[in-house]
Amino acid sequence: MSANVSKVLVQTQDFSVPEEYALIADDNSDGAVVTFVGKVRDFNDGSAVTDLTLEHYPGMTESVLNQIATEARERWPLNKVTIIHRVGTMSLGEQIVFIGVTSAHRKAAFAACEFLIDFLKTKAPFWKLEAGETGKSWVEAKDADEQAAKMWDRS
């Protein structure tokens, strides 16, 4: 098996799903590739959104994303792990985040991908500022996201 190195990127530019897929899907020891893409949605909590600005804590962000990737590897037998998160201003429909995971079998790949996005949403220092018809407002953290991350607690 190849070296289990995770790829973590925080960048302003968009990413290409086909390119990222090709990079993680080239190992014949993997029977499963699971990817997730998060996008800018047209409404949040009932109000229209025109664009989104992502702020982050440079340095800490990359370190938290690497820790999350390491934790996923401790829980499931994974080969490739890619996490790309954009920062800056994005328009409606644009891609925000990419998570890609490969494994010998699908269950590990599905679970790890969901774990990674759940943990990213509650642990990584990113903040969303939404612009809409009524001006700009900071997105409130959701209890549902906290609950989703707690689901992974090891009891």
């Binding site: 998060g38 992502l54 702020e55 982050h56 804590y57 340095g59 800490m60 370190s63 998160h85 925000i96 985040v97 996005i117 990213l120 949403k121 509650t122 642990k123 990584a124 220092p125 990113f126 903040w127 969303k128 500022l129 900071w138 997105v139 409130e140 953290a141 996201d145």
Partner: protein, 83 residues
């Protein structure tokens, strides 16, 4: 000096993204640093009193009793909303 950073609403409301705070004997934890900053004026007191406020000491989200000393980087921010 303690390097203090602010992000998102906290940064916006305080109108500061980074300040240097002298490491006095009074400051020995994230909580005491918060108290010293909150005593600046009414605005700082109000923003830093939020029960949702999070603190990261040297880029790790930490408890309020975490030790803080000269040379540390301490960041205050609201709950995260990425993804």
């Amino acid at each position: 000096m303690i390097n203090v950073l602010f992000f998102a609403q906290v940064r916006e409301l305080l109108g500061e993204s980074a300040i240097q705070v002298e490491a006095t004997a009074e400051i020995n934890s994230a909580e005491t640093l918060r108290a010293v900053l909150a005593s600046k004026d009414e605005k700082w007191g109000k923003v830093l009193a939020s029960d949702k406020l999070l603190v990261a000491v040297n880029q790790t989200i930490s408890g309020w009793d975490t030790q803080v000393q000269d040379g540390d980087e301490v960041a205050f921010f609201p709950p995260v909303t990425g993804g």
